[in-house]
Every structure is written in C-alpha cells, then in structure tokens.
Subunit: 464 residues, 2 copies
C-alpha cells in the first residue's frame, strides 16, 4: 500500500494522476492540518481544488477526520461538494453540518441535485432540512421526492427554457438577454404549444446562426423523444444511448412539459446500472463499498446463507453415493473438478445473457437463435474439456473407464451449464425478476447437482 511500486505505474496511469490534484500526499497534509486544528492551512490546501476534488478528500478521510473537516468548513460548504459526495459520506457530512447550512446549500442547487442529496437521508433529517427551506424551494423539492425512486422524475431539472412556436428568433434572443430567471447553463430551447406540450427543440447554435425575423418553429427539430415522468431511469439511460441524445423533455400524464433530463445526469445512471448488475451477480449490494462493516456483513451473509443451502443440496447428492466413494476414493478426488468446470461454464453464459438482456441485444426476435448459439458453444467447449480431463484422469488413475466416466460427466455438465446459463436469466426476465439478482444461485445449484449426479451416478453404474 505504500508507493514503492510507483515505478511500475504505466504512462497511462500517471497521466490521470497528473491531472487529478488529490494525491495521497495531499490527503496526508490535510489530515496533519486537521489534527493541528490549523484552519488557515486547511483553507490554503483546499482553495485550489475543484468542488469534485474536495468531495474526494471527504471520501478519502476516516470518519473521525471527516467530522473534523466538516465542522471546520461546514458553514461555507459549496453546494457542489455535497452533490458530488457518495451516499454514506454525504450522510456523515450532513449529520455533522448545521441544518441551516445544509438548507442554504440545497437552495442553491439544481432541483435534480437537491433531490439526489435529500433522497437517501433518513426521514427525520430530511424533514428538518426541508422545513428550513424557503416555500418555493420546498414545493420544488417535495414534488421531486414525490416521484418514485429511480424514475425520470427524480432526474429531471425543472429549470429549462421553453418558448412558444410563434415567437421569432429575435424575440427568443431578446428573452434570453432580459429574463433573469433562466438557468445559468442551457444548450437548447424547447418549443411548446399553448397547452404546454413540447413540439420541438432548437439548439442554441441554430438560433445564433438564423435571421432574427424567422419564426423559431421554422428552425425547430421536430423529431422529439419524450420521457414519461414515471419511466425507470435505466430506460431513460437506454433512450439517451440508443438515440445519441444530449437532452430529453420530460412530460406528465397529460403530455405537458414539466422538465428536462440532460446527458450528464444520465452518465451517472449508466454507470450505476452497470455497477448494479456487476454487484448483484456476485451477491453484493451496489452500495456495499460505502456501507459500515455491520451493514455490509449483514447484506453479504444473506447471500452466503442462500449459497450454503445450495451447497448442502449438492452435498446430499454426494451422500447418495457414499458407498460408491468408499469403494473408489479417486471419485472424491475428481468430483470437485466436474462441479467447478460446470460452474465456470455456466457463469460465462449467464453473464453474457444478463448483459445482453440489459442492453437489449437479446430480444424475443433473436432469443431462439441465441439459445441455439449458446448450446453450440457449450457442446464444443464441453467436448474440448472432456477430452482433456478424460485423458488426464485416465493417466492419473490409470483407468480408462474412470477417464471415460469423467469425460461423459463433463460434457453433460457443461451442456447443462450452458442451457441453464441462458434459459434461467431469460426465464427470470420474463417473469419480471432482475436476472442479475437471482440467476447465479440457480445456475450454480444446477451445475453442482447435475455435475455430482452425472459423475457419481455414471461411476456407480460403470465402475463399481
């Protein structure tokens, strides 16, 4: 964990390290200043940092130092620092900050960031902060929080620019120059009809390059993808990627424009969703890394206990054949190989399938073809591995019969693993269970049980 291996870092790695200012040395200096209580030095060290980097510093510190830093700079905390913190660090920092300071920071945020900061706090803390907000901010935040978690409503920014289609380009430009309520940053304008239904968008560069007297509706892009406010964020992210969009209009049930989602918010969603699949497949919560030891232990042990049950099931299969094993202990030596290879082959297919379902590369239209593809791959690889391990077992125990049993069991198990790896995720998806969550437990159970059964069963018939 020290830096003695630094010379092994590739050029690429040092490239990012050169760009990012929060080095282990800087963190050490900050810790030193915190322990000395040297506020001036802390300000000096943090001053050149981007808010995202200050958030990084908070995340790198231990709970103890994090509390000190919060108490030192909490009253002047920039809103962006809070919105960049991960959930558990955010909890710690907000718990230590004065409610008035939190409310001040929140009131300076875009509505989506404010909702993001507040949504994971406990009820009581959330209530106290919302009560400290101005009436207007409170209404906006409460509306954001009223949408389901992970829905488009939680991602939307209410603050967008919309104009009627009959305005001229000149009138739109004058509106930009005079209106004080417009957002600080925007890249396009939404065109709405009298019912406030979005009917098009115009990118700013098109406005600048057009004559002042033509109608804005004449230059608008009419191909408009609308997001219903209840749409799941994963689906919103899919639309952004699929259509290469920079922003989308969010509409309520009656089709009225109530906000927009921009691609930079979606970047986080894409990353979160991919992380969630990765973590779920390994039996962990996607929040694991930021959880306390007790919480993480609790969440992980549930998965281990479920796995224990399936492992015991596999053991019971072995117990059926205890007489066979007693007669030929080589079976006990070889049997974990059958199960392990089946498990690995099944995991390969399952991971491809879970991912293809998430990215919609696997659909009803091509499912039959892909199932056949997986079957073919499993058959091929089953034969290759069977020949290898069959030959090795024959040589090791000097028994061609044992080699044959091993080979046949291996083919059976790898083919079953391939079929389980594709059919189980597809089946779970059909009945609306997240395939990333439950597939691996079913796949492992099947490969273990079938692996032991095929190997020991064949052995009992052929060898004994």
């Amino acid at each position: 964990m020290n830096v003695s291996n630094e010379n092994n870092l590739s050029d690429n790695e040092s490239m990012l390290d050169e760009v990012l200012p929060v080095s282990p040395e800087l963190v050490d200096e900050i810790i030193h200043a915190l322990e000395e209580g040297d506020k001036e030095q802390i300000d000096f060290l943090l001053e050149p940092l981007h808010n995202a980097d200050i958030a990084d510093v908070f995340e790198q510190l231990s709970d103890h130092h994090r509390r000190i830093l919060t108490s030192v700079i909490g009253s002047e905390m920039e809103p962006e620092v809070l919105s960049e913190l991960d959930d558990s660090t955010l909890d710690d920092v907000i718990a230590e900050m004065d409610d008035q300071d939190v409310a001040r920071a929140i009131s300076q945020m875009e509505s989506d960031d404010a909702v993001h900061v507040l949504e994971d706090l406990d009820q009581e803390e959330q209530r106290k902060i919302i009560d400290a907000l101005s009436y207007e901010d409170r209404i906006a935040i409460e509306e954001g929080l009223s949408y389901p978690e992970d829905s488009a409503g939680r991602l939307l920014q209410k603050n967008l620019v919309s104009v009627p289609g009959q305005w001229s380009v000149g009138k739109v430009i004058d509106y930009f120059k005079t209106d004080k309520e417009l957002p600080n940053e925007f890249y396009e304008v939404f065109i709405v009809d009298p019912m406030h239904h979005p009917i098009g968008t115009v990118a700013l560069n098109k406005i600048i390059r057009s004559d002042r007297d033509i109608l804005i509706s004449e230059i608008m892009e009419e191909e408009l993808k609308l997001v219903p406010v209840e749409m799941d964020q994963e689906e919103v992210a899919y639309l952004f990627r699929h259509y290469d969009l920079t922003s989308m209009a969010v509409v309520d049930d009656s089709g009225r424009l109530i906000g927009m989602i921009t691609v930079d918010d979606v970047v986080d969603v894409i990353d979160e969703e991919a992380e969630e699949d990765l973590m779920l497949l390994s039996g962990i919560a996607d929040t694991d890394i930021t959880e306390s030891v007790i919480e993480a232990s609790k969440n992980r042990v549930i998965w281990l206990i479920i796995n224990l049950a399936t492992a015991i099931l596999a053991s019971m299969v072995i117990a059926l054949f205890d007489a066979t094993i007693e007669q030929m202990v080589a079976l006990a030596v070889l049997m974990p190989i059958v199960a392990s290879m089946g498990g690995n082959a099944g995991t390969q297919t399952m991971t491809v399938t879970v991912r293809a379902l998430a990215t919609r590369e696997l659909t009803t239209s091509n499912a039959k073809r892909i199932i056949f593809r997986e079957f073919s791959i499993a058959l091929l690889n089953g034969i290759i591995i069977a020949v290898l391990i069959g030959g090795l077992s024959w040589a090791w125990f000097n028994s061609s019969a044992l080699g044959g049993v091993m080979a046949v069991a291996m083919i059976i198990n790898i083919i079953m693993a391939g079929l389980a790896g594709i059919l189980i995720p597809i089946g779970l998806d059909k009945i609306n269970i997240d395939p990333a969550l439950a597939s691996s437990i079913f796949v492992t159970t099947i490969t273990d049980v079938i692996g032991f059964f095929a190997f020991l069963g064949l052995a009992a018939v052929v060898l004994i």
Copy 2:
C-alpha cells in the same frame, strides 16, 4: 420465447417498449418482405424508423436476412445507421456493401464516428475504403487511426469551433453566421491563444446573453480541463464523470488544441468499460455476444482450461488425503461446501475491490482502512457461517468433532477468501495488470486449495 407471458410485464417494461418502434412483430414483417423481395414494402416499413432503430433491425436479423437487407438498401445507407451498428453486424454489412457506398457514408460522418466504423475492419477492407475517400477525408481518418486504440485520439472530433480571445462577442456571432465550415452542432466555443493553446471556453448561452462589444475572453470560463491525446479512454470518461463536464479540449504533446470530446461519446465508453469489467470477471471477452460460435468458443475455452488447471490443483490437495477420506466418507460429502462458501465469499470481496479500483474509490490513501474493513466483514461472516454449518454437520453425521472441524475450516477459509479477495486485485493493479482480468482465477485457486487443505488437514489430525 413467445409472448404468452406478456401480461407479466411490469408497467415500466411496457413503457420503454411503447417508445421503441422495433417490435418482434415489425422484425417479422421485415423478414417476410425480405423473403418476398418486396423492396417497396421494406422501404415502407423502414421509412418511419430512426437510424438507430434501423441499426437495431440489422442486429436482430439472422446473417442471411441481414445480407439481403444490405443488398436492398446498401446503396442508400445513412451514415448514422453504420455508426450505430455493433462491431460484428458492422463487419457483415460493410462486407456486403459496395466500397464506394461505404466511402460515401464515411465521408458524411464526424471524424470520431468514421474512425470508430473503420477501426475494427480487417486491414484489407479498411485500406480499400480509405482509398475510395477524398484526399481531405483520407488525411483526417488516417490521423485518427494513428492514435492508439482506446485513446482520447480515437474519440476526438476535429470539427470544433475555436476563436482568438481578442475577438468581440459580436465578431464571434458574425463568424457563426457566415462561416460555412462550422460543425452542424456545437454547444460551446474554445478560446485559443496565438499558439493555438486552449485558454478557455464560452457556452453559447453566455454568448447570446452578452453585449456584442465586450471581448469574448472576458466572459470565458478559464477553469479548463485538458485531455492529452494519448490518454486512455477510461481515464477520459473518469474526468467527465468526476467534473460533470459536457465537453473537453484535446491537446497534442505541445499543448495545441487538436480536437474535442463530448459527453455523448463518453456515455458509450462508460458503458463499455463497465461491461468489460463484468465480462472479464466471468472469463469472457466483452465482444462475446456478437462473436461467431467458433470465436466465442475459442475465447471462452481458454478460460475454462485455465480453470481446469486450478481445479486439478485443488484435486491434488484432496488426493493427499485419500486415506483419510477412505476412512471417513462423510468428509467427501462435506468438503465441497467449504470450497464453495470460500469461493462465494472471495468473489464478493473481489467484486467490490475490482469495482472500487475502477471508480477510484479505493486509493493508496484509504487502502489500509478498506483492507481492515474487508477483514472485519470476513471474520464476522466466517463466524456466522461456521456456526450454522458446524451445527448442521454435527446433526447430520452425529459427530461433534466433525462439526467442530467443519466450523474451524469454514472460518479459516472465509477469512482467507476475504483477504485474497482484496489483496489480489490491489496487487494486480499495482503491477499494472487489469484486476478484472486475472483476479478471479487467483481467488478461486486460493479458496479451493486452502478450503480443502484446512478441512481435510484438520480432519486428518482431529478425527482419524
């Protein structure tokens, strides 16, 4: 695979299906028209579709139908359809298209999209298409291809808007209105010094809202993150996420502005990189789903063979204790449980660690703390699982000594699994090997070998 389970779909799922036009029914209709050779009907069916959706249609079709569709619409293929195709479908489609048609489509693309389309083609095909391009396009594409794969250079758009700092806002606006070479879409302007070094950016909304006579350098944002052209795309994506950017300036070795990268290009990178980690951890290539059976089989079987070697290593440990197992066959029944639980616990820790390294949540500053955290979780969960399985084994085989051996072996294995799960990825990362690629093989080997050794070794000493 049929639609009889449709009523099980949640509201959320049908929400996206309503928005996306490519349904299984539409694909069937297109296949029917292809088989009839009914070009008019094909045009009628494809006409309302977005280019990204036409790309989807290509991906859903079998090789045979894909070839027919390409021959029917290849000569009028929109460039966006090509740039939306996945790699293997793209290969198929381009192989079937006329080189002149491909060159025409490529010349209409942004430089980053053109490079993306060309980079994965085989050398000969690539050469033929590049030769069919105009001199100007050829130079741009060859420059793009000269940068290392997965580097910022491959992502950059050369087509950006840059102006000198001493221009007035009015002059910039007039330049936008009169210059014909500007990109169709842009959201901000880069300000450069006389050496063409980028010194700031101005968002278009700021330009519109400023008076014509002030200098553009007065309203520019000076906090500018620059991307060296050789930077790895994963690091570029990290910077975009970390600093919430919409675009970044790319500079060459001498610091001159040579292009820009926009957040919508980074969205794909983020998804690819997360996918890569997921796939690598399960021993598959991230291109697997689009590969042919033979290719996918070859790539996956290498992983299976490596795993076979580690499984044999574990078997050799068991073989050391064959006399012990012969005396007490219950050991053969229980031993897979120890290995399986160790494997699962190790995978949990390893996945968290690989992910935390990728997202830079795990750094030199907090590594010691996180290692201790993982050790604590492993100790806790080891004890819980040990008590459970110890008790069950005792009851099952009516032997308190066997229960005790099982419990102790389980604690040892889960703790070792936790340590391996965190130390191995960190170690690989230090010596610059992608932890996602190699961690799981080491972790499984350790949990298998230690699991069997601890359990059978203890049993040999205590029970026999």
